[in-house]
Every structure is written in structure tokens, then in C-alpha cells.
Subunit: 360 residues, 4 copies
């Protein structure tokens, strides 16, 4: 009889929905070492809270996230609150001995992030950089780790959305710097940074610039950066909410000694791969549909060619987290990985102010 | 308080998993007029039956599908049995007054299909041609229905998989003509036919040929057909399990007076559309990522660019079925639509024997 | 000092321009064993004939194509006349001992084609199925010839243009069955047939249907056929001038034991190739840019990635023809190859009338 | 009777071939106001000079480029010499009253470039940024100029080749900084800069970094830059000879208020365009095959879908130059445009040394 994993979810927004779904679905597709109990849902919008709890099977609700900390029948606290609450909630949860899962970005500042990691030193943690469970990205990681790419020369990442250009959208906490930290930096750039760390390793220096295209908007709409990696490669990052034409294009491209990789989240099931060790006449970018039963992550779900979507990255993340938990193994990305992202983000944001190359 | 929809699922294979998932997920993403109760799971593999029931929350199990017919606390019977059992199970269920949902193909023969439709005349029915709920296909249907394509000249469909070429695969009922009817005809071609009926309307004549490439295989591996449609367009169908290079490529292409459409299930979230009413210099095939909040089906799930997958077609189908049920409206595709597919399939299979153009 | 190759060009239309260009350009990119002399240009439109001769460096002109036959200082006659004149001109030229080059289709009928081949038995011949010199197609041929694809299961070809739907176009001989033979059959289908013969070998049986979508048009706008090949593979052909959305899409797709190929003339420099002998996780359709210095044909022109276009297929064809000529080797496609195309075309057209599977 | 345009070509390398071809072909496809006379070919490799002259119809040869300056029967001097000779040859030619055409980059330094422009103030000039005559790029320019894109937010350019990674290649002047100036900066980046100036206007500031990946190579292999444009947009440039997987990928991407553009020279005949003023459900990147008879440049060559290649950009450039010449109009890009490129290049190269944002 597996033990229970009693979780409290803090937050009832879009990410709350994605996480709720993951808790429901993980046991359907993975053999989990724990029974997930959706014990408590915390949120402040009382007009929708009970409906959301009913829809997703949360046993109880609270309008105060601190309720999750105080209860002894909660094993894990999952934080989907606005960014400025990540630190207080995570630190309180960790200090109460809870397992802590936290949406990205980890914190509003590198100081907060470090304090969170420090507080959570003794508890298992997870940061929801969910794209680390995209099968194509895991497979890219495998190819790189196996030496199939050789020395990497260029690593470019871009994350483009277009909704920032719609000035008729109702305001949200994402546009308030006191709640969100920054605009596109905290929101989209952090995904690029985590992917770069995962695939290409540490960064040493950055130089960056930001732009706010919308009049009177208090946060940045776009950030562009150049970066040097510890492995000698160079690259660029571009994160924007004014990437007209792109709904959710989170992309990277790698040029390396032995080949090339290209990915775009809008084509989540695909990885483009060129193997430069093949004869010159047969080198071409291959469109791999990463749904083979020998590919990573995917086989838990369906059969070859029966593609998966956005939500499956969350499902796979929580499943793998629970597997690590049962084996006392470190899960990644954890709070330390979140700190690593925050360090680069901090360097980017300092550079955007000074205009100088800035050491990470 | 919504009424209950108490369903019994017959079958514990791949489709049983897909349907189980749909019953779990539909209430998460749709406001349903019924509460779905996963009341009974019927299957004959007792080594896995209870585990599957536990995993997907089926309240009870039975090793005899007739148990579902006999119980009065079952509202609907969902048939995922091998093809040869569709007719007896559906007829028994319908005669017992159950709502009947049936995997495709509806039946082994046009006679069986008609008998099923006749038996089910008084009960709501559904055939699981799930791809009718792919947002891109629904949107293609809307464009055509709105006259955006004008007169259609060419309609081509192909469904290509490659697993037939793997002769090391363990045998399954899909390779046994007494259980499956035919090979690729019943399995893949029927999807093409339903899509063609949905998008381009009735067919009048076909000429077809089949092939079995694998030695000693008792069912066909490939079927190719030419077809005339009632609207004056012509086309081809190609269904194959020897489509090397294709994992699950269910595709169509339309050339019409005012434009062109192209779709491939391996790129489920995309629809390619060319609007020939635009200036000549600006006509090009557009890659629509069918995930806008104004696109059909998709907005129930996530946000623009956060793509969905294979399973969502089942979720959307059952949700729409329940909405029709509550309003006493006909759902499509129902058993009559299944008969229409079977009529074309029958003409195709007769033509493959005689080599003659054959009236549908 | 190389000998001269004194050529007379019959015809001043679009193909006359393409051939003129080839005669000018071949010596620039190939080391030819002959000096090409553009000796005589024959055409009936006297308002443009001398301007065309001046533009392309034709030494003399005549308004009667028979002048080319009669002159002793002409080595080769290149026929770009309307289809109905191919046979008389080619036979006259061959009987006068000329080398004969002829635009496709070779003739209006299989009988004419055979008579032409018979008359030309003693002279070198060429049929301008120029796409046999597309580097991607030659490379596809090499891969197949080298056994890289293994047993072929499916071969599909389609040639789609859209100009037939423009009913405001001025009439041309291509719409007159007495001059053109048929519509899309002689014009576009013959390209498909030659490519299929080149890549996949002889066809044994066909069944076909034709359509004329434009009111009162005396020739067919579309032809669709199913085909059986001698090697056991099956396939379809679709040729249409109502392929809305396609400017010049001459495409084929091959599924075979060891891989897949896909090509489209609108992307002339590309060949898509999937190698099914690679590990399952690394199988994907590769986009080969067929411009490597080890690829066929291309290296005569520019450097990798510096792409070529439509006209280069003619340049390469005449260059290779002259090389064969100097070595007394057979060039392909010659008149016998043209007859082979005509045989299949004849079977297609007979089948379109009878509706029966028809032996080639 | 048109006047003559008597040209001397300095240089017998790859560009000499491309220009020779352009002089031969321009009169075939354009109605030119001048008769081009290929009067003199200058080159120092006497083993191949006369053969090249014979092949391309150059009337005379000289082993000293100054011969072209001294002769009175030369109207124009076309400089395809190694970069370090651009300035002396161009200045000498201009001072002798010749029309001057010069390969890119204009010069080794901004000072040289300005001196060249100053010397050539009284004579017509051209810089061979040939890609300004790619139909897709001209069409992109038209769309932007017509306001179809609106305010531009992001402009990214990249030029990737892979031959730099092949350390077995024989050395060439391109790897000698005294002859080439820099590596990828002068060679590939200048193309990006000219395209950016043409499409998006002046740049104000840049910050850049360079890399030499090959051991002991005296020139840079890669340059990456961030850039601010005068119109408020921001972007990146990446030029590399270590872009493994890319043969000749000269690409740009624009995100703007009303749409998006994407181009890659490896797909020279295509322009991708998204029109964000269309309904949300119909917005998608369109693959325009820029070969319509209403598209720019293309109609001089062939018919829709009959694609052109690399060489046609040179043909169209010289044809347009001659048309401007006959009308006393300024051709672009001329030496002043070349200076503008050089100014940005200079800022890039200074920034790469200092690491500072640098004003152009």
C-alpha cells in the first residue's frame, strides 16, 4: 500500500489548473510510489474557489495560504501564487518541514531565492520549469550528454509571445512589478535560462537590454541578451511579449561540432536534429517526432505518433518528483537549480541597467 | 444537481485507456450537464483488469461484457471490444435501452452496421471517430461550411503508419480477419472516410485495390482508392501500415475554388490554409496554430500556443455528446454516420475484389 | 579544337526560351566536347522572331521549320513546337539524319511515338523531361539504385498547377486537343510518368479518371490514376491545373522497406529523406539541401547552399547529352524512354474512357 | 541602337564567375538600355585566365588590374579582387572617370570606404550586395514600405555557414586579415547589415563579441551583436562560419505591430509572412513562393513556380544598375550605401574590442 502524498495547492489561476490536472493525471500514466491526495486548495477568489475545488477534487479549501503551512496533515505545499509571495510561502512551508514545490520564477530577487534555498535545505524541493519534461528537450539533453553534438559553438534561445501587444487586455499581477518582479524577464526569460543551463551548462557573462513597447507599462515587454557559456560557446536570448506572430514560441537552436539541434514549443512533439557525422550528402535537419517508445518521457502516455501536449510536462514532472522522493534522490530542477536561474537573471537585469557585460 | 451518466466500458486495451481518460478529464475541462460515473469496467484479462479499474477509478469490474447490459444502474455502454463484438454488444445494449457508444469501425459488415443502427434507433449513439474533435479539423469544417473554400475540386486523404512492416510484433486481434474484419481498411481507412464525409460530403463511386506486403499475413496492409464525390470533386485515399517514415500520419488535402487546406494528425494543432481570394502576391499556405481562444474546441483546454494532444479529441467528443444528450439533440458521428462510413468501406472492399468502379 | 554542334531550334515560346538559355549557358558551366552553334531559329510569329534571335544569339531565322531539315549545316534539330508537330518534325529530321531533341510529350499518340522512335533509330535522340536533371531527383535515383530504400511499397506522384482555374487567360494551343493531344495528361502527367519510370521502374496496370472543371473546355483539367508497378509497389498519380494553392508543385513520395523519400519541384533544391535503418529514436525526415559538392549535377554550378533554379535542369540535360554524344553512349531519356512514357499515358487515357484497369 | 557598356572585370575567382554570368545573362532576361561588352578580364593566375576569358566571352585579358584603369575603351570597372585591393582599385578607377562596381565589403576600414565614396562622388557606383535583388527580400521591403508591418519591434538577422569548421580546407585570402580585413565580419556580417539597413533603417548602437573557434586562425569565425535601430526596434545579429548544419543560411526575422516576416536564403524563393490584421483564427505564417508575375524582380525570368537561384540576384542587380544609369538615377546600394554598412561594421568591431555599447 503506497504512502500518501498529501498536497496543498496555493493559487487558483492558470497554473493552479495545470497543477491540479497534473495531480489528477499522474497516477493514470505513471506507477507512482505515493497516493496523491489533493488535500487543500488555497485561494482568495471566493466566488470561484469552491467550484475549482469541486472540479479538480480538492478536498478542502482555504482563503489563507498560511492554512497549508499550519496543518499537520499536509506533506507538500505547491505554490502557484503571484511571484512576490513565492519567498514568504516557500520559506514558511520549508520551515514547517513541508516538501515545497514552487512555480517559476523562484523569487523576485537573487537574495530571496537564496533565502528560499537556504530555508529549504532540509526538504525536497521542485521548481516548475516544466519544459524540462518535454520529451524532445529531454532527448536533446541525452544527445548532448552522450557526446553526439560534440563541442558546442552557438546556443540561441528565444521565447516569443504576442499578447503584450494587446493593450485591451485587463491588467493582471503580471504587469505589476511589485508582484511580478519584472515583465518578460521573470516570466519568459527564466524558462530560456533554465533550458540553457540544462542543455548547455553554466553561463559566465551576459550583456542585455530591455524594452517596454507599450506606453506607460511599468514592466519590460522584451529583453535581449548576449551570453558567454562556460563551455566556450556564445549565444543570444530573446524574450518578448511583442513577438507578433508567435503564440507560445519557446525555441532554442544549437550549432556544434558534430551537429545541430532546433526546437520550438509550438511544435512540442518535434525535435530537429542534424548529425554532421553522416556523409555530407546525407546531412539534413531531421524532423524527429519524439513519440517513439524508446524516446524519453513519452512512452508513459500513448503510442508512437499519438502526440501529447502542454499539460503532459507537468504530469511527467510530478511523477518523476515522486519517484525521486521515494528513492531519496535529488530531483531537478530543485530550489538550487532555481537559484542558478535567478543568478543569471540577476546578471541580465543588472546589465540591462548598466549596459555593461556582467559576470554571472 | 446534475443527473448521473453511469457508464460501463467494455474493453481494457489501448482504446479502453483512451476512453477511461476521457471520462476522467471531461468534467475538468467542460461544464457538463451530467455527472459521469465510471460504474463498470468489463474485460477478460483478469491479470490486469482490477489494476486498470483501480488506476482509472472504475467502481466495479466484470469479465463478461453482458453484465453491462443486464444491470439497470448502467445508462450507457461504451464498446471498445474487438471489431467482431461491436454488433452483438451494441445491439444487446440498444435493445436493453442503453445509450450506446462504439469504437470505430462500427461493424464487420454493412449488414451488421445497419442492424446496429436499426436496433439503436431509439437510443442516443456515438461512434468514436474521435478526430472529428481535432480543433483543426473542426475549423476546416467551419471554413468549408462558411463557403470560404468554394467549389471543391480535389480531396485527397491518406493515413499512414509503419508498424505493419515490423514482423516481430506479437500478433493481435487486428491481424485476424475474423475478429478485425479487414486490416487497414477497417482500421485506418474508416478514419479517412469519416473525415471525408464530414468535410466533403457523400461519395458516389470508388475503385480500389489492396495489398498485403507481409508474407502470410491474412489481412490487407494497404488499400488505395480513387473516389468521386457527390459535389463533383475527385480524390484518392491511401491507407497503409507500410507507410515507412510515418508514425501516425492521418492527412488530408483539399484544393478548391477559393483556397486550399492541408492537415496531418502528426501536427494535430496545425491547419494549413491558403486563401485564394487574397491578392496573388500574398497567397501562400498559412500554418495556423489552431489554439486561439476563438478557434473551436481548443479554448476548453488551455491558452493560445499551449498545445493539446491525441487524448483531447476523446475528451471533447464525450463532452459534446453529453451536451447533445441533455438537449435532446443528435450527436455526430452517431450510428447512422457510422453506417455511412461502412457503406463506402463496403464499396471499396467490393471494388478491391472486382477491380471495377463501384457505386457506394 | 572541339567539333561544332550546330543546332536549329523549332519554336519561339516559353520552351524556346528555356532551351535557348540552355544552349547559351551549358558551355559556361560544363566542359563540353562540342562547341554549340545556335545556327537557326524557326518560328512563325514574325513580329517577335528576329528580336528573339537577337536576344539569344541565333544566327539565322526561318518561318518554316522545314528549313531546319533541309539545311546541311544543321547537326541537330530541337523541337519546341506544339505537340501535334512533334511527330512530323522529328520524323523528317531523323530521316534527314539529324540528331533530334524533342520537347515532351513525345507525341500525340503511342502510334506516333513509336513511329518517331522507329524513324530515329539511327540517330541520337533526347526528350526534354528536364526534371531528370534536378539534383535532388538524381540523388533520389542514386539512393534507390544503391539499395538504400530497399523494397518499395508505395510510390505517389502529383503535379499541381492552378492556372487552369483562371478562365480569363487567353486561349493557347495547350487548350486545343488537336494541337495538344489532351490537357493535363500530355502536359503534366507525362512528367510524373517519366519520373516514376526513372525512379520506380515499369508500370503494369493503371485505372484512371479525368475531369474538366472549366465549362466548355475541350481538354481535361485533371487526371487521377491508380497504378501497379512491376516491382510490386502501388501508387497514385494526380495531375491537375486546378490544384489551387500550387504554382508548380511536381511532387513524389516513396515509402519503402528502408526509408522514405519526398520531393516537390517548388523546393527544387531539397530532397526529404528518412533512413529507416537508423535507430528508431533518430528516424526523421531529413531536409537535404542538395547542393553539396558531392551531390550529383549541382557542383557544376555554384557552391553549397547557393541554390539553382528551373533553368539549370535544361542546362545540365544538354551538357550530359553532348557528353554522351561524344562517347557514343545512349543518353536518357531518349525517344525510347519517351515511348515508354507514352505507353503508360495511353493506358491511362484508355482507362479513363473505359473505367477499367488497363494493362500498360 | 543602344550604347555600349564596356566593362572590365578585375578578379577571376568565385565572384568573377558570378559576375561574368550576370553580364552574359542580363540581356537575355531584361530589356537593357546598353549593350554590355565584356571587354577585359584581369587576373593574376595565368594558368586559368585565358580559359576563363574564353568560357565567359571576355575579349581580352590582362594580368594587371591597372590595365583596366588606363584604357580609354573601358566604361566600367568591376572589382572582384581580395578586399584589401577594393580601395586602391576603386579610387584609381573613379579618378579615371570610370563607373565603378565593387564587391562587398566595400573596404577594409571605414576610412578607406569614405575615401572610396569621396573619390567616386562623380561617377555611378554599385556595391554587390546582391541579395537586395532577391525577389523575396524586395517584396519584404515593399510590404514594410507600404506600412503593412507597422511599427517594427524586433529585427533579427543571422548568416550561418559551416565551412569554417573544416580545418582541412586549403588556406585562402579570406583567412588572412591583411587581405580580408576580418573573418566573418567583413564576409557575412556585412550582408546582414546591408539587409537590415535596407529593410529596417539605420542602427544607432551596437554591442558585439567575436570568436575564433579554430585553433591558430588569425581571423574571427563568429560575431554576435545586439543592436538598436533608429526606429526603436531592437535585435541581434549572428554571423558564423561554425553554423554547423547550415550551408548558406542568410536569414532575418521581423516582428512588428501588424505582422511578421521570415526569410532564409537557403529558401531563396520563399518569404514567410504573417498578417496580424487578419482575424485571429486565420493568422498564420504564410509560405509565399515569391514567383508570381506581380512579384518584384521574378517576372523577368520564368513563370510562377519555376524557381530561380543564387545567380539571378546578380543578373537583376546589373540590369537595374544599367536602367538607373540610362536615366541618371541613383542606384542602390551604391558606395554611399556601402559606407553606411561599413560604419556599422566599424562600430561592431570596436565594440567587440571594448565590450561597450558603441554608437554607430
Amino acid at each position: 500500500m503506497p504512502r500518501e502524498f498529501r498536497v496543498a495547492l496555493l493559487g487558483q489561476g492558470f497554473m493552479g489548473k495545470a497543477h491540479s490536472n497534473a495531480y489528477c493525471q499522474a497516477p493514470h500514466f505513471f506507477d507512482l510510489p505515493y497516493t496523491i491526495k489533493r488535500t487543500l486548495l488555497c485561494g482568495r477568489d471566493t466566488t470561484t474557489l469552491s467550484a475549482m475545488a469541486a472540479r479538480w477534487g480538492w478536498e478542502q479549501t482555504s482563503t489563507d495560504w498560511r492554512a497549508a503551512i499550519d496543518r499537520r496533515d499536509i506533506d507538500a505545499v505547491d505554490i502557484c501564487l503571484p511571484n512576490h509571495l513565492h519567498a514568504p510561502a516557500a520559506i514558511a512551508a520549508a520551515e514547517a518541514g513541508k516538501i515545497v514545490l514552487c512555480e517559476k520564477p523562484l523569487a523576485l530577487s537573487i537574495e530571496d531565492a537564496r533565502a528560499m534555498a537556504e530555508a529549504a535545505r532540509g526538504v525536497p524541493t521542485l521548481v516548475w520549469f516544466n519544459y524540462r519534461r518535454v520529451p524532445a528537450i529531454v532527448f536533446a539533453h541525452q544527445l548532448i550528454a552522450d557526446g553526439r553534438l560534440g563541442t558546442i559553438y552557438h546556443y540561441n534561445g528565444s521565447y516569443k509571445q504576442q499578447w503584450g501587444a494587446d493593450t485591451t487586455r485587463p491588467p493582471s499581477w503580471k504587469m505589476d512589478p511589485s508582484l511580478a518582479g519584472s515583465g518578460v524577464g521573470d516570466d519568459l526569460l527564466t524558462h530560456l535560462l533554465d533550458a540553457a543551463l540544462y542543455l548547455n551548462g553554466p553561463m559566465t557573462r551576459v550583456v542585455a537590454t530591455t524594452r517596454t513597447f507599450a506606453p506607460n507599462r511599468p514592466v519590460d515587454d522584451a529583453v535581449v541578451a548576449m551570453v558567454e557559456f562556460g563551455n566556450g560557446s556564445i549565444g543570444t536570448f530573446e524574450a518578448t511579449r511583442f513577438g507578433i506572430g508567435c503564440k507560445n514560441s519557446n525555441a532554442f537552436e544549437v550549432h556544434a561540432e558534430k551537429g545541430m539541434l532546433r526546437f520550438d514549443l509550438e511544435r512540442l512533439n518535434h525535435l530537429e536534429f542534424l548529425d554532421a557525422t553522416q556523409p555530407a550528402t546525407e546531412q539534413g535537419l531531421r524532423d524527429l517526432l519524439v513519440t517513439d517508445m524508446k524516446h524519453p518521457v513519452f512512452p508513459n502516455f500513448w503510442r508512437p505518433g499519438h502526440i501529447i501536449g502542454y499539460e503532459h510536462t507537468f504530469i511527467a514532472a510530478i511523477a518523476e518528483f515522486l519517484q525521486c522522493l521515494s528513492k531519496n534522490e535529488d530531483f531537478h530542477p530543485n530550489f538550487n537549480d532555481g537559484v542558478a536561474v535567478q543568478q543569471v537573471l540577476d546578471a541580465v537585469q543588472r546589465s540591462a541597467k548598466t549596459g555593461q557585460w556582467t559576470t554571472v
